[in-house]
C-alpha cells in the first residue's frame, strides 16, 4: 500500500517574457487577445526556448518550468535541489500559489503554508505583539491559534521585554528571531520552506532545523524544502528532486539524488592526462596522469568527508636507472598550503633506480581529514632527491562534501582548512 498522495503536479509549465515591459508588449497582448477571441491557442505559448541563462536569448519568451510532474506522499519531506536558475524558486512560487502556471495543474490536499521569506507583512511601526498577529494571519493562522501560541512564540524568539516596542527599534537579529518564532509555530499539513535558514546565528539555525525535522518526522506533516545546503537537505529530507533547466532531472531518494547532483556538478578537472608529447618532464622522465580514485580503484569526482580516497599518479621513466620520487602539496582555493608530502614512505621505489617503463603511485588521503572545501593538488616529480623534473600546480582538484552525518546538529559553515575529528573528554573535578 503506497502512501496517500497530498500533492500532485501534472505537466506544469511556466513561461516568462524576457526584457522590459513597454510599448512593444502591447502588440503582443493585442495579438494574443485576438487569437483567444477566435478560440485559438495562445500564439506565444509555442515559442520559447529552454531556460539556460548562459546562452544568448533567441526568443522573447523563456520557460522557467517545462512539463514538470511529480507526486508527494503524506509525511514525506522533499528536498528540491539544483543550480541557480534551474527553476526551483519558480516551482516553489507555483506551489505556494503566489503565481499561476502557464499550463498544467497542481492538486493539493490539506492546509498549506509557505515560508518563502521570514517576516512577511511585518509593519515597522507596529509592535512585536501586533506583528505576531499580522504575520501569523498572513501565513494562514487564525487569531485563536495565535492567542494560544503567543507565549510559546515569544519564548522561542526570546524578545519578551520588547514585545510592545515597534519592530523598527529591533536589532536585525531580534527581528529575524521574532519572524522565525511565528514561522516555527505554524501548524499546516504541508509546509513549504525556501532557503530562509541562511539567516540567524548558528544556535538559532539549529533550533529552526530541529523544529522542522520535528514537524516532518514526529507530526507526520509534509515538508518541501529548497536549499543549496546539501547537509541540511540530507539530514532533513527523505526524498529529493533535482531540477535542471526547468525540468525534473531526477526524482528519488534523497541520498541518490544528492549524489547525482554532486557528480554532475563536480568540477571537470578531477583528472589530468597528458599525451607523451605534451607531458610535463624532460628526457629522463615524464608525468602522464593524475587522478582521484576510491578504495576500489574507481575514478571519482567528489567524495564525502568520511570517505578515504587515493591520489593516483602515473609517470614514465625514460632514462634507465633514473632515481625518481614524487612529492605532492595540497592547497586550498585561496592558495594556502595545507600540507606537503614526498613519497618517502614508499620504501620500495622512492629514490631508487627505476628501470625504464611506466609506474603508478598511490597516495592515500585519509578520511576525516579534509573540510568540505575544494582543494587543488600540486604535483612534483623529482630526480636524485633534488632535481625537479616536472612541476604541475593545480593538476587536479579534490572536492570534499559534507554528508551532514557528523555535524552534531549544527548546519552552519564549519571553519578550518582541515576538519579532523578530535577526541574530547570532560571530567568533573
Amino acid at each position: 500500500m503506497s502512501k496517500e498522495i497530498v500533492i500532485k503536479a501534472e505537466n506544469i509549465s511556466k513561461q516568462y517574457r524576457l526584457g522590459e515591459i513597454g510599448t512593444g508588449m502591447l502588440s503582443h497582448d493585442i495579438r494574443r487577445w485576438w487569437a483567444m477571441a477566435r478560440g485559438k491557442e495562445d500564439p506565444y505559448m509555442k515559442v520559447g526556448m529552454e531556460n539556460d541563462r548562459t546562452k544568448k536569448a533567441t526568443s522573447e519568451y523563456a520557460w522557467a518550468l517545462r512539463d514538470v510532474s511529480f507526486e508527494i506522499g503524506k509525511g514525506d519531506s522533499l528536498g528540491i535541489i539544483g543550480n541557480n536558475g534551474a527553476g526551483k524558486s519558480t516551482l516553489l512560487k507555483l506551489l505556494s500559489r503566489v503565481t499561476g502556471p502557464s499550463s498544467g495543474e497542481i492538486k493539493i490536499k490539506g492546509r498549506i503554508a509557505s515560508l518563502l521569506e521570514v517576516g512577511t507583512g511585518f509593519h515597522p511601526d507596529l509592535t512585536g505583539r501586533e506583528n505576531i498577529f499580522m504575520n501569523g494571519t498572513i501565513l494562514g493562522m487564525t487569531r485563536k491559534e495565535i492567542v494560544r501560541k503567543l507565549d510559546e512564540i515569544v519564548e522561542f524568539a526570546g524578545i519578551e521585554m520588547y514585545l510592545d516596542t515597534p519592530v523598527k527599534r529591533y536589532s536585525s537579529g531580534m527581528y529575524v528571531r521574532l519572524a522565525f518564532g511565528v514561522a516555527a509555530h505554524l501548524e499546516p499539513e504541508i509546509l513549504i520552506v525556501d532557503e530562509v535558514l541562511a539567516v540567524g546565528d548558528a544556535e538559532f539555525q539549529k533550533k529552526c532545523l530541529g523544529k522542522m525535522k520535528d514537524v516532518s518526522v514526529n507530526d507526520g506533516r509534509t515538508v518541501i524544502f529548497v536549499s543549496h545546503n546539501m547537509s541540511a537537505v540530507q539530514s532533513l529530507c527523505n526524498k529529493a528532486i533535482m531540477m535542471e533547466h526547468g525540468m525534473v532531472k531526477m526524482n528519488g531518494s534523497c541520498a541518490q539524488v544528492i549524489n547525482h547532483y554532486l557528480d554532475s556538478n563536480a568540477n571537470s578537472n578531477t583528472t589530468k592526462e597528458w599525451s607523451i608529447e605534451t607531458a610535463p618532464g624532460n628526457e629522463h622522465a615524464k608525468l602522464l596522469k593524475v587522478e582521484l580514485v576510491n578504495t576500489s580503484g574507481e575514478k571519482i569526482a567528489t567524495s564525502f568527508l568520511e570517505d578515504e580516497v587515493y591520489l593516483k599518479i602515473t609517470y614514465r621513466c625514460i632514462t634507465d636507472k633514473a632515481k625518481l620520487n614524487l612529492s605532492i602539496s595540497i592547497m586550498t582555493n585561496k592558495e594556502e598550503c595545507v600540507l606537503s608530502s614526498p613519497s618517502i614512505t614508499d620504501t620500495i621505489w622512492c629514490g631508487k633506480p627505476h628501470p625504464s617503463g611506466d609506474y603508478v603511485s598511490y597516495c592515500k588521503l585519509p578520511s576525516f581529514f579534509f573540510n568540505n572545501l575544494i582543494y587543488s593538488v600540486y604535483v612534483v616529480l623529482v630526480k636524485d632527491g633534488s632535481e625537479i623534473i616536472a612541476s604541475v600546480p593545480n593538476s587536479i582538484i579534490i572536492e570534499k562534501t559534507d554528508s551532514g552525518k557528523y555535524r552534531g546538529g549544527y548546519f552552519g559553515p564549519w571553519s578550518g582548512i582541515t576538519r579532523p575529528i578530535l577526541e574530547w573528554k570532560t571530567e568533573r573535578v
Binding site: T99, E105, I106, S114, E117, T120, P166
Partner: protein, 286 residues
C-alpha cells in the same frame, strides 16, 4: 468513472492555468477573516503611531479641510450653500467625498503597495481592497459623528436646518458609495499593473472629479443643462440625497439614485473580474 469523481473531490486546492470569469472563493475569504481584521487594524493603527493626538487626527483632518473650504469657497469665492450653515455644508460633503477619494486612492495602489507581500505568500487577494473599504468606513464613522454633533447643535439651538425623513437613507447611501469606491479602485489597480500610464491620469482625474461632484457647491447652482452632465457622475445623486436628508437642501432624484446603484454594481462586477484575471499573473508583471 465514479471513482474518478471521488478522487477529484479529495483535493482541497486546485492550481490551474485557466480560470473562470467570476471565480471568487467566498468560503476562502471567510476562512481568512482574521487576516481581513488584521489588515483593517493595521490600516487604522499605523496611521497615528508616533503621534501625540493619535486617533484625534481622524477628526482634525476633515475639520481643517472644511474650515479652509469655508474660507476659500465661502468667503473668498462666495459660493452659495443655499442657506445651510457653511461649516455644516462643507463638513458633510467633505466627509463623504474623502471616504470615496481615500478609499479609491488606496485601493488603486493595492498591487503596487503590496507587491512584496504578494510575491511571497498566498492569501485571497480581494482581502486587501476589502480591508480598505472597511477601515475607511471606520474613519468615516468617526468623522460622521463629529458632523452629527455639529448638526445637532445647529438643529436644536440655532434651528438653522430643516432635515427630511430621507436622512434614514444614509446607511444605504454609504453602502452604494462603498461599492462604487471598491469597484473603481480595483478596476484601476488591475489596469495599472502592466501598463502604468494610467497612474498619471488618476491623480489629476480625482481632483477634477471633485469639481464635477457637488462637494463645494449645491447642484442647484448649475444650469439645468449643466445639471444633466453632473447627474451622469454617479457620486452626484448620492451626495445630493445625503444633503437633502440631513440639511434639507439638495435634490433627491430617485431616477439618478437608481442609476448610481446600477453603475456601482456593474463597475464592481467588472472590477472583480479584471482583478481576478490580473491577480493570478500579477507577480510576473510587477
Amino acid at each position: 468513472m465514479a471513482n474518478k469523481a471521488v478522487e477529484d473531490d479529495m483535493w482541497d486546492v486546485y492550481i490551474k492555468a485557466k480560470h473562470g470569469y467570476l471565480d471568487i472563493n467566498v468560503r476562502e475569504i471567510w476562512q481568512y477573516r482574521d487576516l481581513l481584521r488584521m489588515f483593517i487594524v493595521r490600516d487604522l493603527v499605523s496611521v497615528y503611531k508616533q503621534t501625540i493626538l493619535g486617533p484625534l487626527w481622524f477628526l482634525l483632518q476633515p475639520i481643517f479641510t472644511a474650515l479652509i473650504y469655508v474660507f476659500i469657497f465661502g468667503r473668498v469665492a462666495k459660493l452659495s450653500t443655499d442657506g445651510v450653515p457653511k461649516i455644516l455644508f462643507y463638513l458633510g460633503s467633505v466627509t463623504l467625498w474623502n471616504y470615496f477619494a481615500d478609499t479609491f486612492r488606496m485601493i488603486s495602489r493595492t498591487f503596487s503597495e503590496n507587491a512584496s507581500v504578494m510575491g511571497k505568500v498566498y492569501f485571497p487577494r480581494l482581502i486587501l481592497p476589502l480591508s480598505k473599504v472597511v477601515s475607511g468606513m471606520v474613519k468615516l464613522t468617526i468623522q460622521f459623528s463629529l458632523f452629527f454633533v455639529i448638526w445637532l447643535y445647529y438643529y436644536f439651538s440655532e434651528h438653522a436646518i430643516s432635515p427630511n425623513w430621507q436622512m434614514m437613507y444614509f446607511p444605504f447611501l454609504l453602502l452604494v458609495l462603498a461599492v462604487f469606491s471598491f469597484g473603481s479602485g480595483i478596476l484601476v489597480s488591475s489596469l495599472t499593473v502592466k501598463y502604468r500610464d494610467l497612474n498619471f491620469i488618476i491623480a489629476f482625474g480625482i481632483q477634477l472629479l471633485m469639481y464635477a461632484t457637488p462637494v463645494i457647491y449645491p447642484i442647484s447652482m448649475a444650469s439645468p443643462e449643466m445639471q444633466f452632465w453632473l447627474w451622469l457622475n454617479p457620486l452626484t445623486s448620492l451626495l445630493e440625497a445625503f444633503k437633502y436628508g440631513f440639511l434639507g437642501q439638495g435634490l433627491l432624484n430617485y431616477f439618478w439614485l437608481t442609476y448610481s446603484v446600477v453603475f456601482a454594481v456593474v463597475l464592481a462586477l467588472i472590477g472583480v473580474i479584471t482583478f481576478n484575471r490580473v491577480e493570478k499573473k500579477f507577480v510576473d508583471m510587477i
